[in-house]
Each structure stands twice: as structure tokens, then as C-alpha cells.
Symmetry: D2
Subunit: 403 residues, 4 copies
């Protein structure tokens, strides 16, 4: 597959071992100029320190860093939250939502610097290769794509370290790396090591952001979240940007061990994998949104929102972000979210988040209507007619059977 | 609506204040014989002590008690669990699943004793009237139905107590009763009182079965659950009947504060209500089933199981148990559950239940396939072709747009 | 239910026997002023001739006629067509879509003339009462509603004619009226008479607009329909308004016997009914839209459009037009329809309409890609990897079973 | 990919040009013994005449013909019909349903004769390669698979004819073959030639089985179809096997030009293709089944059946026959079909099939209930209560907004 006449390639660069090795590998195997692209989507600040220098030392001709944090939460995370998407019932799609925004910014840079190819460091058995390349395809089908992990034979950390050493490229990476991780403002994921057997419980090292619920504070803490049009707009009464809301809730959630899940999931590529995910602030947000929806959405709308979430979870997981279906699902969810306004008090305690108080100017709940007594909208006698017609086809079927 | 020539009526009798008053009320207003029917579906054992005597003292001509506990869990609860049904995302349908079995047994008694009518004590604003009467309609459309709460004007506890007092019918009921509750082997629900405003957090009195997570043991406890064909068949290695499994898990769950939810839900009759539900053993079961499914179900099957659960939640909530749709959903879920076999270790701690270890003879997860290295089923080069075709329509659309 | 202090009521008036009798009946039974409202949604022009005079002669204080024809097709019919809604697989929802626009305009008039109540002439066993009143409720819950057919005892044409005769109100209605019909620009429906048994085939009199396919021209005719954003905008190359497009296609369709269906359907109120529907122009439109979609929508989008259509069919049939769910479905469908642009040639012949030629600037079909040879987007070798991953979970399951 | 140590391979052989060339090609390139397998699923009888001899002449060591006609219709076609599956709204899945049964019988033969590999003649851009190989994978993952069209460079009829000529293998195939066709008892499909542009109308040569509606008899013909449990069991009163029913209806349908569709569809592999399909008997069957369902299925069941059909259409189209999802869908549909019993008279005329009379012992339609008058199950007054509760959430929302 090598040497397809590529002259200049833009690489989604993280500063880690893999993408550091990819730079010289691309130059040697494709004979092309390599431009490094670093997306800041809220990953560990350490990873960004000196990242440009690192890229250049590895042989990149340029390195561009783009701060995508607000855009990530506002335009990718929030729309997905409106649908209620949870992949296979629990995964909050932290990695899935990040890939399209990275790939999109990477494509934009490629077009700007006149590159003719794109490269990512995702492995050949994972979902991320699909998400990157599906975005590339949708936005710039004319650009070539190089996926080193599907081509090269550098199949171990040892091989990669040797590869860099031979080329005198400095790296801080060590041979020992038990877990494979992905991190951004929304979540951190952990795979590998002890997790490779689902019969092993996760150990302490599997968790990075959040405190163990067993070691979380013995006293619960409350936080107030304000929701407007299905989006979190304030925390404890303070109006904040989406990313700021998340940052604040991440701190609170992590402190109380909130937002851990440990699942086996179906990858898009047909195999199952096991991962631990930590989404502390996100988990609080989701609970707040669902609590407001309980007050606001009628029965039909609630069911529909669940259907939208189910569909959206697959679309996002698969990296089909720049497809008509994602836009349609988002349009449907935004329409429903128009009335999802309110305020929720959530209690954080030992790994749990519980919405304990909720209110909304659009609430369909009414104390007057819900309770025993007489009221203006509900007459007990209505129920008789309702039940009769609601069950009428059952009646007719049963009468038929008697005959 | 009164006096429709009813001669003998079977009442779903609980021994509580409402149904105790219904007995004389029926006799006076319909001039008919009243047969009391008590379904034992695992409610508070206290409620069953002397219940026959109570019924006769209230004026019933007979009182029949039926032990439906195993049937309830085996034939009503377990099939619903296979679908994964959660009404509006969280309610485990404890009351909803109980109504059809009670009503069915009541109908059977009515046919046996030659009654010509059926009566229940559900109120005129709730879901239960619909569930009872929909079952009556489906199984015995020829029987008349009396729903006193939609007819009489005894609209307060005071009125009911006076009514019994005037007739010298003894009752242990007191004037003060803040909460409205429903209890069976699966769950207990609490409504009313402080809960009438969603802006009020529940207080201690709102919870009956489960300990407050804040007061739960400081050390987590583990429990092993064995699943066969999507049904829980053993707890901690001991093979047990469905009801016995539930009993054992209820004790464990309650001790650790597991299974509390506090929600505002859409009733079938168009209003919203707020309730606290405790389903300790059930919550453990659900977590165990979902954990095995993570190992066993492929992507298509998982999504389909989620769709089945969504549909089933409405069917069950609405009391459409004896309808073709419920049977069809159940057939679909049973088919999927054929391979849902395995064992799960769950950790209970301060209100949380977490599946920490899981295995299955039908697991599609394979350490060999999931990890980095070479293996027999997955060649990295496959991914390139997969991605290409997976994103092909996006490519064609994008190429179109460029033109 | 009578005399609830109503002073002025707006009646959805058609000029027919039923609503003519309702005017004096309202005045006598409610002692209120009656304002007649006539919606022109394209029904038989005859029905509108002298309709104001008729209303006044029957005792109305005022009569307002509103021309809603363009609005009906543009804002009610077209959005539903974008979703592909077909109630129970075939009904094009002609009556269902009309009720909300009539009721909305009626509410607006009521608010303008200061009325305190609304009235319609729909019967007590049908869907239309639900559609009217659900709209009233959503738009003006403070207004009272009178539904004479659920109240009075004028249960035959004879009774109605006598009622008018006694009051010296002239009517052109005759005693004989075998079929019950509903007509607007989009369709005409026929129920009753011979159709009451599904074992009877419809006879000649059951069809009004369309020629019998057996008597349709022996030579087929072609018509070209232009579609923009999922809306029909031109017929045979002539740009026209939505209502004009429909008018033109109605003539063509009727001439060739296109658009007849004869079905038994589930009414919302729990009974089944049998009806014949004629939707000649609409049937051509639907075929044109689906043909363009075949070229434009990718697989995911196509399936999603079918799901939207399925949901929308129930929402519209039930009269839930002014509900959040309808808005959400419409937003989703509009999003998908953004690329549904193209031109279709349809052949009309003896009851059939067939799209025989189709093209679109957004077509994903490409002769180059579809055929045998080499091309730029599809390499045969991709398929091997695709198939391998597509069927990977089946492989793993099968390997498991072999062990 | 060649020579993987294959010793004996079973080829899905049709007797046509492609699979005739595959036999020598396999022997030369894989050095293996080739066993030909011919599935009789009702294709042109001509194709089966001398097919064994042809296979042996081409170099096969053995040739096995299996008569799968009854099994195909009974176990593959009928279950799909119960779900109502129509791929992308119209395609009756004739080719899709055939592949799994052929591949399954082929696998069984391979296991019986001790082969270690399987081969099919499907091209590299189509769906059939996926359907064949997905079945192989699910049933015998240990067997190797050879797909010559993705390997060789015999990319034209000319090349194939030369290839055979060089080897002195006789063939009746000619150089001219405009259309690509697939035929079995259920349908015949036609692709290629003039159809490659969707802007071209099909010409006379695109249709094989059915008469042009313009040349169909001028007098309509009626046929009576009997349905039991969602399966066609008799035609014009004569009880017949599934395949016999189909044969009889095929003759009638073809005579009247029934069952033609001309569509552009999304292939599973990401491209669109255009095809003409003729399914005369099948189209009559589908109309008969849907007609009985109109009488029998309640609203919930009808909607659910439509959802099942939508899901099933993708599962079957994709060749996911031996997957848990197909089994689950089928279980759900069989459950619903339990009451789908009845008789339908259909009129065939100039390309159209119309159900004109229908009856069922399980009909929920009742003349008495549907019509105007009083009856035992429906009291007009019920409707008021029904509407009130049906629209209650709209009322509450609207009242909220007024405040």
C-alpha cells in the first residue's frame, strides 16, 4: 500500500509513543512531509506540555495545536446528551464523540496546508480507525489515508521504542504500560491488563480520575444543576460555558467516586472488548437532564426520546457523525428539548448520584392533579370511558373467542 | 351505574381500609353477595394474618386466599426481565406486573363460584384500574365490573372510617396515613405526603424495605448470581426457585440500600405522579442479567433486546398483559435469552450494585481476539476493506458534493 | 352535560344535514349564540355555494368561511408526506390531516369573536371527535366543548330531517344517504352501505372521484413530477403552488383510476371500520417522492425514514398534531429531506402509477460504481475484509459451539 | 490468497458460464478436487437439464443436485412473509431468502463429503457474496472460503469464454448477455443493460416472467386465497403445499402482469443498484396476508408487525439468516400470526392485485360495532372520557402556557 505519491500528510498526533514513531515511519515509507496536528479536547494537560517541540524532534515539519474544548462539549457532547444516548445501555460515548471533532479539525488543517493525505494512530482492531476514516471520507474523500497500524510490523512497545532509539528520537515513554487509555474532557477509558478477563474485577490501577467509592467522603454532597433547552447551563447557580460546567462537575463527581462503569461491549468491528470508563461530570449531567425530562416530557415524547437515544448511541459509536442520520436524530432531539428547562439538586455519595429535588417551569406534574381530590382537569368518571375504549379490542377478541 | 342485576361479585380484597369498606358498600348498593379474593403475591405477611376473618366480619360470604408467589415471579416477573423493560428508563414495574396475575386469579375464582361481576379497589386517577379492568375484559368480557372509587363519594379516610363505624365493622386502620403504598415480593412503592412536590427530597419515612445508603454497612458485600436462559436460578451457588432467589436477594439488597428510585412518571391516564420505589433483589437480578448479556449478545441482538425492553415496558405498565403484543414480545425475548447463561459476582455497597466479575459458556468475548496480537479470527487487513465499504455511501455523497 | 353557562359557541359547520341541525339544537339546549365556521379545504365546490346563507337560515348569528387550501397542503400534507406516513400500511391520512387545521382555524375564530365554547359534528364512534377535541385542548383548553352526537338522541337521518322541518329550516338533504363521506383537496373517503361487510366487494357507487380502472384509458399517460427538499414543486415542468400541483395531479390520477384503496382499519377508539379512499393526486406524489428517495437516501437514512413514517402515521391518525412528538418527527424528516431533490416520470395506467424514470442531483447511484468493472471508489478486495468483520460475531459464536 | 492447502472444495454450481469456469480455475489455482452442488429452488427447469453432466465435463469430481423447493417456500419464504418484510419499502427479497438455504445445503454436503472448503460464484460488488459467506461462517467456520470473483482477473464474458475454450470445455453460453438475472420459485430479478441508468425506463426485455400490463387480459380475474396462521394454505379452495400454492399463483399473477417492481436499492456493500423484480405469486400472497391481518390484528399488534417487518427486511437482505436476531424476529411474528386465519378474494387486472373480499373467524371487525347505532360494546358516552384522558397531557401543557 506504500508510496501512493503522497507529498504532505497531516497526522493526528498525541505526543505519545505510537504517533511519535509514526512520524519517522511515514517519512521513511512514504517519503512525504509530515504535519502534526494536536487536538486539545481536554486531555491531561501534561500531554500538551512541549508537544510541539516533541513533534518537531520526531521529524514533523510543523505542529499545530487546536483548542477544541468548548466546541467539543457544546457541539458534540451536548447534542448527544439531548438524545439520551447510552451505548449498549451504559457507555457515555466519550471516545466516540471525540473522534469526529478531531478528524474534522485535522481535515481542515490538511486543506489549509495543502496536504494530500491524512494519518491516524488508531489500531487495526478497534473502533477508532473506523471513526477517523469515516469522518475523513465524509469531509474530504479526495485525500488519501494512511493507517500505520494496519500496515507496519511494529507490533509491540518494545519494537516502537527500538524504532525511535535507532533514530535518536527522544521519548519519555517506558516499556511498561499495562493499560491502554483514552482521555478527554468528558471521560477517561482504560483497557487491557487485568481487565482482559471479564472474570477479573478491576483493581485500583484501573481507575484514574475518580476516587474509589469506598474511600469517598462519608458525607454526601449536593450540587444544583440548571438546564435550559436540554443543555446544562449553570452549576450551583453559576452560569458557565458548557466546558466550564463540565469541569466543575468533573471535580465534584470524581471526589465522590461518581461515573464509573466496567463493561464488556460489542465493538463495531465484530469483536467484544472490556473497558472501564470514568465519566464523573457527565454522569451528573445525564442524571440532571433525565430528571428534568421526567417533569416535562409527556408519555409519547418520553418514549420517542428513548428511541432517539437508542439510535443515536449506535450512530455515534460507529463514527457516523457526518451522516444525514445523525443530523436528523439531532434535529428531532433538539425539537423535543425545547421545553426541557429546569433545576435539579443532585446528591453525590459513595459512587452514586441521585436527583433528589427537581423543578421546571414546563412541568406537566401538578400536585393538584396527581392527588386524590377533585380538580379542574380530571374527573374520575372520565376513567371509565377511557378504560372501556382502551381495552375495546381485547373485549371484542374475547367475545369472539367465547362464541 | 348502580344495580345492574348483579347477584354475586368477586372483590380483589386486601384487608385494608378501602376494600373493607367496599364489601358493605357493594352489598348495600348492588344488593349482591360479595366473595372476597386475596392474592398472596408476597406482600407484608402481617396483611394476611386473619384476613379471611376480617373479610367475613366485613360481610363477605366467603374469602379465598391464593398463594401466587412462585407463579408471579416465574411467569410474570422473569419474562419481563428477559426483555430488559424499564418504564421511562428506570421503573422496574413492580405494581404493573402484579395486577394481571391478581386479576386473572380473581376471574378464575369468579368463574368457579359462578359470580357475575368483578370489583377492585383501585382509585379513579391511577393506572391500576386500567390494569385490572383490561385483564377482566380480556379474560371474561361477559362479567360486569364495579369500580367503587369511580362511583361513590367516600373520598377520604375519615369518610371510610365513619362508614365502617356506622356498620359496626371493626378495623385496625387509623385516620393518619400519610403515604399510599403498594407491596409485593418484587417491590414496595410509596406515594403521597412529602413526595407530592418533586422539589421535596424524600425523607426517611418514604423508604420502607431498604436501609438508607448512608447507614448501610461500611464494607461491601459480594453475591454470586447464576443465570440460565435469561433467568436467575441460583444465588451464591445455591439452586433455588424464582421466588426463593428473589427472597434471598431482597435481604441482601435491602441491607445495602440497593434498589431505591425516586421518579416522576407519566401515568397511562395522562397525569404525572411522583413515587419512590424499592426493588432491592430485583435490582440485583437486573444487573446480573445485563452483565451476562454483555458477554453473550452480539451487537444486533443487544440493540434488539433494548427495543424489546422499551416496547415491553409500555405494554406491562399499561396492563396489556393478555394481549397478542405481550405474547409476541415475550416470544422474541425468550428466543434471544436461549444463550443468556452465566455467572456474575456483584458487589453491594451503600446503595450501589456493581457487576465486578462475569463469565458465560456462551461468551462471544475472547481475550485472544480482543487484544493487540495476531489471532485466528481477525486479520488487521480486514479492517481496511470493512471501513471502505462501511463508509462508502458517505464517500459517494462527498464526491457528489465536490462536483 | 347541558347548559354549562355557554354564551357564544363556534361550530365547525359544513352545510350538511348534521351541522345544520346542530345550530338550532345548540341554541335550544345551551341557550347560546352560534357562530358558524366553514373551512374551505378543497371539498366539493357545491358544498360552499350559499353556505353562509344556509348557516344564517339555520339560526347562526354569523358565518365565516376561511380558504385554507394552500395552507392545508403546504403545512399539513407536505410535512406528512416527507415522513412517508401510511397508516396501517396504506391509508394516506386524508381525513386525519384535515381535522387539526380546521380545528385550529376554528379556535382562532373563537378567540377573535370572544366565544367561550367550540362544537363539532363528529360522531361518537369515530376518530374525528378525538382529532377535533385534542386540537381544541392543545390550543385553547379554557374553551368548553360540545359534541352533540355524544349527547342528543337524534340518531337517524329521519330524526334530523324531522327536527329541521319542525323548525321550518330548509334543507336540501334527502332521507336516502347510503354512504358516509369525507372530502377535501387531498382525498375522498366512503364508508357504510355495502361496505359494512368486508366480504362485500365495493360497488360502483363506492367510488366518487376516480374512474374505474376497467374503464380507464387503454393508453398509459406519463407525467413528470419535480421534487425539491421532499416537496412536489412542479408538474410536467410547470412550477406550481402545493395546492395547484395537487389539483393538476388529481385530474390526471382520477382519469386513470389511480389512488383507490379499500381497507379495514383500526380506529383509535378501539373498533375496526371499513372504508374506501380515493387519493389520486396524492398517490402520484407519494410515488414520486419515494422514487427520488431511492436515489438519494443511504441505507441508514432510508430505514430511519421508514421508522419516522411509521411513527408519524399514528401521531397524525390520532390527531396528535399539536404535540411535541409531531414537531420532533417533522424536524427529523425535514432534515432528511434536505437532499431529496429530483425529477420523476410516472406512468399512469388502469389504476396503477409506476415511476419509470428518475434522476437527482443528489443521487448516490452511479452507473460507474454499480457495474461490473473497476472504478475509483470500490475495489473488489475490500469486500473480503468487510464480510469477515460483518460476520465476525457469527464466526466466534460458531467456533464456541464447536468446542 | 491462493493455495491454502485446500484438498476438496464444494462449489455452489448453477451450470452457467461463471461457475463452469470456476471449476477448472479452482483445480488449477488451488490444486484441489471440486465437488459441484446444485440447489433446485425452482429456477428455470432448462438450467437443470444435464447439469450433472455439464459439471463433470467442466472437471468436477461429483455433482449433487438437491430439491429444496418445498423447504425454501415453507421454511424461508413463509416466515419472512409473516413479518411483512419489504426491503426499502418494496423488494420482496427473492434473492436474499434463497442464499441462506443454498449455502446451508452446500455446507451440509461439504461436511458429508469431507470437503475442507466452500466456493461460490457471486461477484465482488454484490450482496450475494456476503449472504453466502455469512451463512458459511455461521454454520461451518472451520471451512475455508474461496470467492473467485474477488481473486481472478477473468473480468468479462469474453475472458471466461476464452478460458473455457482453451480448456476444451463445452459451453452453451454466448458472448451476448445483456442482463444479469437471478431466478427461483419466488422471483426473477433483472439488472444491467438499459437499466444501468435510472433515467431509462425498462424495456420489454427487462421483464421475463410477467406479461406487460398493457397486454394483460382486458377482463379481471379473481382468485381466492386461504390463510392459516399467517401462511397461505389453499388457492381457489384447493389445499396445497406452500410450493404448490406459489406455483399456482405465479401462473395467475404472471398472466395479469402482477408483481413487477423497478427500483434503485441500497446494497449492503454501500453502493446503490437498480433492478427489476418480478414476483407474481408472491405479490398475490402478500396482498392476501395483509388483508387478513386488517381483520385480525389490533392496533398495537399491527404497528408491531410493521416494526418486525422493517427489521426483518434488513436481516434477510443482509444474509443474517443464521443469527439470533432472525430467530427472535421470527418467534415474534409467529406468535402474532397465530390468529391470522381467513379467506381473501383478490382481483387481478392489468398489473394490479386488489383484495376485494375478506373474512376471518378471528376478525375483530364487527358490522354491529362499526356502525352508527347502539350496541353492546360501545357506548357513545365512553368517548368523552377517553378523549379527555387521551389529550390530558396536552391540556396540562396548554394550561401551563396560558399562565
Amino acid at each position: 500500500m506504500q508510496n501512493q505519491g503522497i507529498k504532505k500528510i497531516v497526522l493526528a498526533y498525541s505526543g505519545g509513543l505510537d504517533t511519535s514513531a509514526i512520524i519517522p515511519w511515514l517519512k521513511e515509507n512514504y517519503g512525504c512531509e509530515v504535519v502534526a496536528f494536536v487536538a486539545d479536547i481536554g486531555q491531561d494537560r501534561e500531554d500538551l506540555v512541549g508537544v510541539e517541540k516533541k513533534a518537531l524532534q520526531s521529524g514533523a515539519s510543523e505542529c499545530h495545536v487546536a483548542d477544541l474544548r468548548e466546541e467539543f462539549i457544546r457541539d458534540y457532547v451536548y447534542p448527544v446528551l439531548q438524545t439520551g444516548a447510552l451505548y449498549e445501555g451504559s457507555y457515555l460515548l466519550g471516545t466516540s464523540m471525540a473522534r469526529p471533532i478531531i478528524a474534522k479539525a485535522q481535515v481542515e488543517l490538511a486543506l489549509k496546508v495543502g496536504a494530500d493525505a491524512l494519518c491516524h494512530g488508531a489500531t487495526g482492531k478497534g473502533n477508532d480507525q473506523v471513526r477517523f476514516e469515516t469522518t475523513y471520507t465524509a469531509l474530504a474523500p479526495q485525500l488519501k489515508v494512511v493507517a500505520p497500524w494496519r500496515e507496519w510490523n511494529l507490533r509491540s512497545r518494545e519494537a516502537l521504542l527500538d524504532y525511535l532509539k535507532e533514530r535518536n528520537i527522544p521519548t519519555t515513554a517506558s516499556l511498561e504500560k499495562i493499560y491502554s487509555r483514552d482521555e478527554n474532557a468528558w471521560h477517561i477509558s482504560t483497557e487491557g491488563g487485568v481487565l482482559e478477563s471479564p472474570w477479573n474485577a478491576p483493581n485500583k490501577d484501573c481507575w484514574v480520575w475518580t476516587v474509589d467509592p469506598l474511600e469517598a467522603p462519608d458525607r454526601p454532597e449536593q450540587v444544583t444543576v440548571t438546564v435550559e433547552k436540554g443543555r446544562v447551563v449553570a452549576v450551583n447557580g453559576e452560569a458557565l460555558s458548557p466546558f466550564q460546567c463540565l469541569e466543575k462537575l468533573n471535580v465534584l463527581g470524581a471526589k465522590h467516586g461518581v461515573g464509573r462503569i466496567d463493561i464488556v461491549e460489542n465493538r463495531l468491528v465484530g469483536i467484544k472488548s472490556r473497558g472501564c470508563y470514568e465519566t464523573p461530570g457527565g454522569t451528573i449531567m445525564v442524571n440532571a437532564l433525565r430528571a428534568v425530562e421526567q417533569l416535562v416530557l409527556d408519555r409519547d415524547s418520553f418514549k420517542w426520546r428513548e428511541q432517539l437515544g437508542l439510535e443515536m448511541s449506535y450512530v455515534v459509536y460507529d463514527g457516523r457523525w457526518f451522516a444525514p442520520l445523525r443530523k436528523s436524530l439531532q434535529a428531532a432531539a433538539e425539537s423535543l428539548a425545547a421545553e426541557v428547562n429546569g433545576e435539579v439538586v443532585l446528591q453525590l455519595y459513595k459512587g452514586q448520584v441521585t436527583a433528589i429535588q427537581k423543578k421546571s417551569p414546563n412541568s406537566l406534574y401538578s400536585e393538584e392533579f396527581a392527588t386524590f381530590g377533585e380538580d379542574e382537569v380530571y374527573d374520575h368518571s372520565h376513567a371509565g370511558g377511557f378504560i372501556r375504549l382502551f381495552s375495546l379490542s381485547s373485549r371484542i377478541r374475547a367475545l369472539n373467542e367465547k362464541q
